[in-house]
Symmetry: C2
Subunit: 334 residues, 2 copies
């Protein structure tokens, strides 16, 4: 650490060639005599030479680094509770490493478009992958207007100006609703904040399916104060005190579903027998909770791959279409 690392000039001297030749040899340029290349590689390896990436990035157009932003803002002052976002992160990380791109995990920069743009004009990163759309629609549109390359995990509508990758939210909602109708559920509860595009779409899908029912039903809505377990637990407990218990629940995440089940549980209600519940995401914990959660699955590795693929397309100025990943209902014990 203390002593200065060896430079390309040093390698050139040691291999009796010039700096540009070393650069070409290491960069895999075709016009280098095989024998020369070998000698250079040998010297480089022997002395543990590594290209100074800052010098390289200064000269080149791309930084090959992509900032990934978790939607911490929804979790401020709370412990991060939803493992789904991290499964997604793992998927993106994997996909980026395959493409030899570095992943800068960005702090929650207070949804400020300018500070994001500075990372790009400061050549820190080539652009952003946002894992979570939250209520930042306006900021995303602003970033696009400023020519900042972004891709967002979330839902999209006609009004969406940026590229998104997400589950087929409408279908997800529809599948849940279909299940409820099949079992003649009448008192349906939608858990989630429909200001989020994704959740609005899910609710629309849910409504579409419910509308096929040939019997009367009610549909109500519940939101937690924030995204924490306890907020949902309490909101549900409160609801059970004041209103008749729903016989079908569609929760926007498995994590929320768990909190809600706890509340139902303490209220003496049993899954299937008293209520039916569909969660969302199929996180690893979903099939190991008791009861095992019925939920909508999203393949996070595929999601990661797709997010990265779209991002690269954005970077190369082909405006890629937004797209969705397969979205399936996984029936378990709720």
């Amino acid at each position: 650490m203390s002593k200065k690392p060896i430079t390309m000039d040093d390698v050139a001297r040691l291999a009796n060639v010039s700096k540009p030749t070393v650069s070409r040899a290491l960069g895999g340029h075709p016009n280098v005599k095989p024998k020369t290349r070998e000698k250079i590689l040998a010297v480089a390896r022997e002395h543990g030479y590594a290209v100074n990436r800052n010098a390289k990035k200064l000269r080149e157009k791309y930084t090959n680094t992509i900032a990934v932003i978790l939607d911490f803002s929804s979790h401020r002052r709370h412990r991060i509770t939803d493992p789904f976002i991290f499964e997604l992160l793992a998927g993106v990380s994997e996909a980026l490493s395959i493409r030899k791109q570095d992943l800068l995990l960005s702090p929650p920069t207070l949804s400020d478009a300018n500070s994001h743009r500075e990372l790009v004009s400061g050549r820190v990163v080539d652009g952003f992958i946002f894992l979570g759309q939250g209520a930042n629609d306006a900021m995303f549109n602003e970033l696009v207007k400023k020519d900042v390359p972004i891709v967002v995990w979330g839902g999209n509508t006609q009004a969406t100006k940026y590229c998104t990758v997400g589950s087929d939210n409408f279908l997800g909602g529809f599948l849940a609703g279909e299940r409820f109708v099949q079992h003649s559920k009448k008192n349906i509860l939608f858990v989630g904040n429909t200001e989020h595009i994704e959740l609005r779409l899910r609710r629309e899908g849910l409504e579409k399916a419910l509308s096929t029912a040939d019997y009367p039903y009610t549909l109500s809505e519940l939101q937690g104060e924030d995204f924490s377990f306890s907020a949902h637990y309490e909101a549900m407990a409160q609801l059970l005190k004041n209103s008749p218990a729903p016989d079908a629940i569609f929760a926007y995440s498995d994590t929320a579903a768990m909190a809600i089940i706890n509340a139902l549980n303490e209220h003496g209600l049993e899954p299937i027998k008293d209520y039916m519940l569909v969660g969302y995401n199929d996180i690893a914990q979903a099939s190991h909770f008791s009861p095992r959660l019925t939920t909508i699955r999203q393949d996070t590795f595929l999601a990661g791959a797709l997010l990265v693929e779209k991002f690269m397309a954005v970077l190369n100025d082909n405006s890629p279409m937004s797209s969705t990943i397969p979205t399936d209902l996984i029936v378990r014990n709720t």
Copy 2:
């Protein structure tokens, strides 16, 4: 994105000063006339100027970027299942952002010391924070020998040559054992791989506490094939088939604990009545599982802060002592 961003030279010209003056004004150097500084800042802001960080890093000694390595290697080909590691990541992320350090989330580089060192000599990062010690003790020692700044989340012994931050594993084990003895548990099961330093220490603590019992007891050990839910579920189910059920269990993580409880559950055993269980980490889910888990708490935000603090000390060549964070038993319904 397409058009070239404005440079410091441009700002200098626009503000009618020279480049060095701009550099000093932006860098907060004292020897700049307030009026000049203001004008420069105004021009910079107006044109959305951002310092090219690669040029800056090329010139300066530090990159102000730290690589954080998740112990993906234990999860290869499996979905990431333990939220604890991510709570830890959130803690580190928070601490780094406070110090204005960038976080490079590194891909699982196959426990190869050289590839890690290249990131440092290539001036990509200043060093590493490893979240998870796994069986990489040898590699960590090698990195230290190569003067690569590292800090590791994990346990340490006399033989440990690198700086660690972790829970007080011996104490954690001791607290669990103490509880078991208080309730006169006789057939104790330790779940975890004692090749990991942390888990070895926990087991030692457990043994120490058990040795105070004034009655005979047995202590056995169980490991899953890997870190997944199902591996632990199956290992436990298998054990229950072949041996008498333990009346006390100490699991190395809450996640493993949940899988094990599921197996016990399906075997008709009930917590407290039939067995006592202590998990580890107190992840957000622990208090919302049913039954609510008794576990050993670790404060991940504090952990993050400490990891970063130690890292900075390592970077500045003061060899900081390894240290532990407060470690408490949280009693719930197991």
